[in-house]
Subunit: 229 residues, 2 copies
């Protein structure tokens, strides 16, 4: 980082914390940088906002370029603009988080053109991050912890059909605490946004659980109203 780098006069970028859930762990997608500064460091995926893109569009594009996915739930959560956060000049960045179901049908293989490689890494064991990305990540995790308590976003991390145990598992991972099974079910069913299906889980070597689907119409009614975990 001692070498001479071009100076960026003033740039506006977006950085994304892509949370993925594979049924077991919460992971985020990180890229290994191929350029100075912070060459060989892991970093959050991000890019400069294009002249004709809205902010949400830009975030979606970054996600698409990296994962090939569209239509993913994303939300901006904080702008980071310390004058010295980027060694090459003034870069103000807006952070987004996304919630992604991993490993359903096809393996989600990140395609990255602008980095050495990209990997889904479990949040319990993250490497040191470039720039102020640790701070950005921390704030992102904090954000989804709050959000999941008050709005039904946990579904975004699950396949279309899921069991109540899987759903509970997501809550436990994000909130970092154990929940009581009976109370959890009482509460989540009480919200009335789940539709019980006539279908059972398959391929498990024990009693198969009932599958549920998330009911978008009821969800729309609930949205805005405060729920609480």
């Amino acid at each position: 980082m001692e070498q001479i780098l071009p100076h960026l006069d003033s740039v506006f970028s977006i950085d994304c914390v892509l949370f993925g859930f594979d049924g077991k762990e919460l992971k985020i997608l990180l890229i290994e940088r191929n350029e100075e500064p912070f060459k060989d460091w892991w970093a959050l995926p991000g890019n400069i906002v294009g002249p004709d893109e809205s902010l949400d569009q830009s975030a979606s594009r970054i996600l698409y370029e990296l994962t090939g996915l569209r239509g993913i739930f994303m939300e901006q959560y904080y702008a980071f603009g310390d004058p010295h956060r980027h060694p090459q000049g003034r870069v103000i960045t807006l952070a987004y988080y996304a919630l992604i179901r991993l490993g359903g049908d096809k393996e989600l293989r990140p395609i990255s053109t602008y980095a050495k490689r990209a990997n889904w890494l479990p949040i319990t064991d993250l490497p040191k991050l470039a720039f102020d990305h640790q701070k950005i990540y921390d704030k992102g995790l904090e954000k989804i912890k709050r959000r999941i308590k008050h709005q039904p976003i946990a579904f975004e991390l699950l396949p279309e059909k899921f069991t109540l145990t899987q759903l509970q598992h997501v809550y436990e991972l994000v909130l970092e605490k154990k929940l009581d099974k009976r109370n959890f079910r009482k509460k989540i069913i009480g919200f009335g946004v789940l539709k019980e299906l006539d279908e059972k889980q398959k391929g498990v070597s024990y009693r198969a659980a009932t599958l549920y689907r998330f009911d978008k119409r009821k969800y729309a009614k609930l949205f805005g109203k405060e729920i609480s975990f």
Copy 2:
């Protein structure tokens, strides 16, 4: 707005919704624009972020230039970046809200150099706003409604010493609903962030109410924990 205006290539600005409370009403500070575009329209105060300013610093500066106040509680809440939100070019703006006690000792006379005039206008009767400022304001109000429910920020709108009735009044105005006096007191005192003073309200033509002060130390402990109204 049909005249030829200089084109802004790409600008990053901050706009502020300054909420003020004068003991009776919630108001916001608006400026009347003196320049195209939107000449003579009312707008939220805002400015371009300087090259060596952090975002918070920039917001504080805008507030200071307009009101002469420092040390006011401000928080960023949303970035607006529609490519066409500004007719002269790409202007991405980060919105802040601030909470200000009005009309205590001295009248708060806004000083505005870059506008025809500035005024505190009651939120119940706002004029049409320039650009997408109505949207920015709406989202700001929504934000403080949520915030006041979960974190003790209502104090920021009140003088240092205040009565419980005044505090309740703030909650009622922001949440736009009536609250029960006894239950309100039970709850707010239960949080343990208020210190009862040996002092009474003055200058009222009825039984004077006990004054309270906000206890910063206890507040610090509570902060982060979720409270709920």
